[in-house]
Symmetry: C2
Subunit: 122 residues, 2 copies
């Protein structure tokens, strides 16, 4: 057993754990939008577009559970609920945005590779 490999694997699992949280269908979008400031439920739903209220609820609950957002309920009628990034959420934004930048800059190369691969294989 080579030294370091144990922690190498463990770290990778931690990465996977965070990535599978962040890498689902909607989390990044939600976090990015909340990066501009607090938003309420319906505002998020409308702005994102294409997300069901169930998935938005689920996503927000997950983010709340992991300490990335806070949920504030205003006991008015009709009710109003604000979501806002915590410090941890803000900090997450940094590496995620970096990956986002990379994605923006290289998405074309990826799509080209895909087309090439699909042509060759099919």
């Amino acid at each position: 057993m080579k030294p370091g490999h144990h922690h190498h694997t463990e770290d990778c699992r931690a990465v996977s754990e965070v990535l599978s949280r962040v890498g689902d269908k909607w989390t990044v979008l939600v976090v990015q939008y909340l990066g501009s400031g607090p938003m309420r439920f319906s505002e998020l739903k409308r702005t994102i577009g294409g997300i069901s209220q169930k998935m938005l609820t689920t996503t927000l609950r997950g983010l709340e559970r992991d300490g990335f957002v806070t949920r504030t309920v205003f006991p008015t009628i009709p009710p109003r609920v604000d979501y806002q990034l915590t410090e941890l959420g803000q900090e997450l934004l940094t590496p995620v945005t970096a990956l986002g930048e990379w994605a923006r800059m290289n998405i074309l190369r990826i799509r080209e590779a895909r087309e090439r691969f699909d042509e060759t294989v099919v």
Copy 2:
């Protein structure tokens, strides 16, 4: 329609596209291991541990399709297949590693937040 919001959303979709590629169960692990140099199929399977050969094949095919790894077949008996990161794959490693660093450093805060949340809710 506020200016910039269209591209904001489009960029987020690109991020999601890359993240859902990178954020699946095994991709990061595979890419990280290949970061140290080319490896053959069985070597990856053994090193990662817990991955089925079907999932390893699927993951590697996906990475190959998107231009992140190359697949080299040696026509020997028994056959030997090497996988190796492309330039694009190497470059991907940078932001992914950054996110990994962040994950390593903050995984405890996340787990703590989870425990707190689960206690409060249950």
